[in-house]
């Protein structure tokens, strides 16, 4: 691949030295009287994949809805690429690429039409948008499906298109809410591998919500959410070590004891 294609980013400072792409401080949210998130605080570094691991109902989707501005909470603060979501919503959201859990493509439009529609919403000029769409379709291996209607694509292909859509505007932060739901093993592997490529090669901070421990790789950062609270955060091996478990499965069970029906301290 030639240099102009820009597949490798120039040397960057170590991830630990740079500003987080997402900083969440003291964030709480409730549905009426039911608390969904309580005092959530963490940061996501650029060039890293961070898994947001939590059982069903832990508050992952609520957290994503807050970060994407669909919900609003007056308790706590969200900063995306240095911009406060509440004070500078447009700038904060401009730095964000999102893949929602439910598939959100327009089934009656073609792949290219879907991407062009979204590119326009993000303000990309026509020629730049066309170039970027071609580039991304090649990257996800769907150039031959450019003119196919989304309705005729498989679930895995649709998910790839959604990842491409989230990357159109070269976001600093990519959010994915349980993106592997309903995908076959090959597509799941492709997806996880692609996310790591994006973080490594383009310096994107990736935050992926999941409840599956096998989607977390040893080199990832990890945040464990349970009942709306962050119960552990750090590198995967640190979280495992601190929980006194032998592997991530066991650590996850220890950290979310009620959900998993295990007593605290047990190792699976």
């Amino acid at each position: 691949m030639d240099a102009a294609s820009g597949s490798r980013a120039p040397e960057r400072p170590a991830a630990e030295d740079v500003e987080p792409v997402l900083r969440i401080s003291g964030l709480s949210y409730a549905y009426g009287k039911t608390k969904a998130l309580e005092d959530v605080t963490f940061a996501i570094r650029p060039g890293r994949v961070t898994a947001l691991l939590g059982p069903n109902g832990a508050g992952k989707t609520t957290l994503f809805s807050l970060v994407t501005g669909l919900f609003d909470s007056r308790r706590g603060d969200i900063q995306i690429a240095g911009h406060r979501l509440r004070k500078a919503r447009s700038r904060a959201l401009a730095a964000l690429g999102i893949v929602f859990q439910a598939q959100t493509l327009d089934l009656d439009l073609t792949v290219t039409q879907n991407l062009r529609y979204f590119a326009a919403l993000r303000g990309l000029p026509g020629r730049a948008a066309r170039r970027r769409i071609d580039e991304l379709l090649a990257e996800i291996g769907l150039s031959d499906k450019a003119t196919a209607k989304v309705r005729n694509l498989s679930g895995g292909q649709r998910r790839r298109v959604e990842v491409a859509r989230a990357l159109l505007d070269r976001p600093a932060l990519l959010l994915l809410d349980e993106p592997s739901v309903g995908l076959d093993i090959a597509t799941r592997r492709w997806l996880i591998g692609h996310l790591h490529d994006l973080a490594r090669d383009h310096g994107i901070g990736v935050l992926m919500a999941t409840h599956l421990t096998d989607e977390v790789t040893p080199e990832d950062d990890l945040i464990v959410l349970d009942k709306g609270r962050v119960v552990a955060a750090g590198r995967v091996e640190e979280v495992i070590a601190r929980s006194g478990a032998i592997d991530l499965d066991a650590a996850f069970t220890n950290l979310t004891p009620v959900t998993h029906g295990a007593k605290s301290g047990e190792t699976a």
Partner: protein, 270 residues
């Protein structure tokens, strides 16, 4: 958001709406058949038995089918406004509205763009209806057709705002379809669309009073007066006021920071 970004985003939203409209040919025919049935079946019968004396903005005796055209133009826009809101509820349920609301564009702009693009679709339907009505012998002054255009933009956006407000309060697609029927027909029948208010008053004072509190009456009267190059300040004021009230309520409904239920529902799920 700069002007170029806003322009691109608006064109994209309009293009998607037009594409949907073209893809759903049945929707176009249904939108035309509905007022044409009123004009060619209902009004044709009345034409033989009912003429209207000279009332503003008409300067001469008119036949019933001529009288009913502005009301049917209003009906097209009313249905279209509701259809537009129905597709908002559908987008919300399918999740694609999350993608729209999570873009770095102000909520007010996104909602206005949706309302305007739906209005453009309704204007295409209105002019197609006027052309068919003229071919069928219902006379309208051609000089009123161009001044009618900005008025149709205003009335279309107003009726869309009304529909959008409803869409922000209603939880499910099925409920919305029911509410649409509950709203459209009383609004249409309790207005000056089919009969002049003085005629209604002869039959029932209460009904005439109700018609006077119906914003759709003023939509119809604004279209009627513009079509005949007359100016109706009361109708204009009521239509603008309705747009301001329902536009503001819609914006609140779709803004989570203001406790908007629709925005919260768009984010829910998963």
């Amino acid at each position: 958001m700069n002007a170029a970004h806003a322009g691109r985003a608006f064109v994209a939203i309009l293009w998607r709406e037009l594409l949907r409209f073209v893809q759903q040919r049945e929707r176009f025919f249904a939108a035309l058949v509905r007022p044409l049935v009123w004009l060619l079946v209902f009004a044709a019968g009345f034409r033989a038995t009912l003429g209207l004396s000279i009332i503003p903005p008409y300067e001469t005796y008119i036949t019933y089918d001529v009288y009913v055209v502005p009301g049917l133009i209003g009906l097209i826009q009313l249905f279209n406004g509701m259809q537009n809101s129905l597709s908002m509820v559908y987008d919300r349920e399918m999740g694609s509205m999350r993608v729209l609301l999570a873009t770095p564009l102000p909520r007010g702009f996104l909602l206005l763009a949706r309302m305007l693009s739906g209005t453009v679709v309704s204007i295409i339907q209105v002019y197609a209806f006027i052309a068919i009505a003229a071919l069928c012998g219902t006379e309208m002054p051609p000089s009123g057709l161009l001044p009618l255009l900005p008025v149709l933009v205003l009335t279309g956006v107003t009726l869309s705002a009304l529909g959008m407000f409803l869409s922000s309060r209603i939880r499910q697609l099925e409920n919305f379809a029911g509410v649409m029927n509950f709203l459209i027909f009383p609004m249409f029948f309790m207005s000056s669309a089919l009969y002049p208010l003085w005629r209604v008053r002869e039959g029932s004072v209460l009904l005439a009073e109700l018609c006077q509190y119906n914003p759709f009456t003023y939509v119809v009267e604004l279209v009627r007066s513009t079509l005949y190059l007359d100016f109706n300040p009361l109708a204009l004021a009521v239509v603008v006021g309705t747009l301001v009230v329902f536009g503001a309520l819609t914006l609140i409904g779709y803004t989570p920071a203001r406790g908007g239920p629709a925005a919260a529902r768009a984010g829910a799920g998963g």
